[in-house]
Subunit: 351 residues, 2 copies
């Protein structure tokens, strides 16, 4: 029996992909790239060569539990952990840790978002296996390891990891985590060669992550410890429902990684994107001869550099657009300039 576990964080609602992603159908359940598989399905399959199916946990909102099981029929219902409310990634990961601890106190764990793209899955699996081997070595039981993506452009939409590039070997000590930079800073990062994109994928041993929580988030640990004997039992959900709202709303990055003294990164290059914007979707999909990315039954006339995403069962004629986004899903229509897509959240508030 393997002691390698995978935590898939799947609680997001992804409003940036409105109207494709909505509260009732968030991004992780979509196949926006037209691969035939949803993001969560692809994420699951990507980790399956490294972690056995019975060692996956998906943390999500109760409202999405059935959807998770539909996309991942290999999982038993108890492998889907339900947050009663959104409380950011530190409580989410703590919950999964306590569940894993109840069955396997010496687990090694990889934590991943549910909705990213990886194009080179073999290389991805090599990197993740390398990371797990690393944290399983007695000398690195306290290591908190992140995956850092070698940047290909001065991207301002990602956080960066500054590593000690002089260190030999595949795994580098982290110097600092950096917020999303402005373009000038992003260009400096790219030129320096010692900055990596933070992919939000973490690898650690149970011993290491629990020690870090106890050091940096002791209040949260106290809350979870109160129900320690309940994890993996019929009383777990009730305990979580009552306790979860008391947890600090804080990310694993702020709550743990930025405070840790034992941080490492594997610089990696496996074709990664968080597909966090329509623009990134545009980059990662096939284009027609006029540089349009078209999904669904649509006729385009005099249109270029445009994303057209039409729900199955609908049809569309799109004419005379240049660098636009046209998306129809779930009885909602969006027509906007691609360059203005970061405003989507504000527009939908007005609806």
């Amino acid at each position: 029996m393997s002691n390698r576990f995978c935590i898939i964080m799947a609680g997001g609602i992804g409003s940036r992909f409105w109207p494709l992603s909505k509260n009732n159908y968030p991004k992780q359940f979509l196949d926006v790239l037209g691969t035939g598989k949803s993001f969560i399905r692809s994420t699951f399959e990507r980790f399956l060569p490294v972690v056995p199916a019975e060692n996956f946990l998906v943390v999500t909102n109760a409202a999405y539990k059935d959807m998770v099981l539909e996309h991942l029929p290999e999982l038993k219902p108890e492998q889907v952990l339900c947050e009663p409310m959104r409380r950011n990634t530190a409580p989410c990961i703590a919950y999964a840790n306590y569940r894993i601890m109840s069955a396997c106190p010496d687990a090694s764990i990889v934590v991943t978002p549910a909705d990213h793209l990886v194009t080179n899955e073999r290389e991805f699996q090599r990197i993740i296996s390398m990371g797990m081997d690393f944290v399983e070595e007695p000398a690195h039981r306290e290591a908190l390891l992140t995956i850092g993506i070698k940047p290909s452009r001065p991207e301002t939409g990602y956080g960066y990891i500054n590593v000690d590039a002089d260190e030999k070997g595949d795994i580098k000590p982290v110097v600092a985590f950096k917020e999303k930079p402005n373009l000038e800073t992003a260009k400096e990062y790219l030129a320096a060669g010692s900055y990596l994109w933070n992919a939000g994928i973490f690898v650690w041993s149970m011993e290491g992550i629990q020690k870090a929580y106890r050091s940096y988030l002791p209040d949260m640990v106290k809350l979870f410890d109160q129900g320690r004997s309940l994890f993996g039992t019929a009383k777990e959900q009730e305990f979580i429902n009552e306790m979860f709202g008391q947890c600090e709303n804080i990310s694993i990055d702020y709550g743990v990684m930025e405070r840790s003294q034992s941080r490492y990164t594997i610089p990696a290059d496996f074709g990664w994107s968080d597909i966090g914007t329509w623009g990134s979707l545009f980059e990662h999909t096939a284009h027609d001869e006029h540089d349009n990315s078209v999904s669904g039954h649509a006729v385009l006339e005099g249109t270029q550099h445009t994303v057209v995403n039409i729900e199955a069962g609908y049809e569309a004629v799109v004419q005379g657009l240049d660098r636009y986004l046209v998306a129809l899903r779930d009885k909602s229509l969006l027509v906007c300039r691609l360059e203005d897509e970061q405003e989507i959240k504000h527009w939908i508030e007005k609806l």
Copy 2:
């Protein structure tokens, strides 16, 4: 009992208003102007002060019979005449004429499209009454009368009627019917003052129109005469279904009006449009402060001179458009430049 009858021609499918109008829901049943009434309902009500409800006949496709009765519940089912196929306006009017003849051989008749806009209904009713009075005079029993609209712009989308402007009185002899002109010719027509828009509304006596059919469309008259005793009986529909396809596919304009020697026009000015295009719809609806015409639940951002028409139950965000058309109806979406809307037919053929 009145011997004044009204024939409403309602067989069109109106593809120019795609996706609002489709085979299963053509323009005459829509309320594209947001008046609260469909075109066919407004047409019916517009004629009701001139013609009693029991003297209306609606000629349509069998597929639309129930829809007609839904929009015009005052009519009995037998007042809706069903064409088994589209055969243009001459056979359509002939069918209605024979039905009327079976009940009222000395009728006077007004024929109208089902899907036009009239803004001054009082003036409209005055003009139609004047026309019916005219064709009921013994001296004008053979007159074929059209309604001519005084042009307000050099419109290239309508046919024109050239009248003898020197003739005194409200009703002018017709010199010639003119095809849709190019812009240069349309400007000449407008400047000349003796050209009127052909509204496709006709007034005549039964005697006059039957004589004209016998003279100019004798083959069609022969076909209808074979079943003369069946009109108004239970056998009428079967006769029509078998015979109608043998009729020449020809308009009343080509088949009768252009050949007649007894043609008249009433120049009129009652606020008329055929609302044949999205552009004309744009002209006749209320605009917001950015000159947008919006129907349905939509948020517009940085958008101007644009028509947004969203089906009930849907929502839309429309951003960054200038002089576009965005229409969502019946699972079909259209986004196009308003100036290119005449191409709609070609685009939907590709779908």
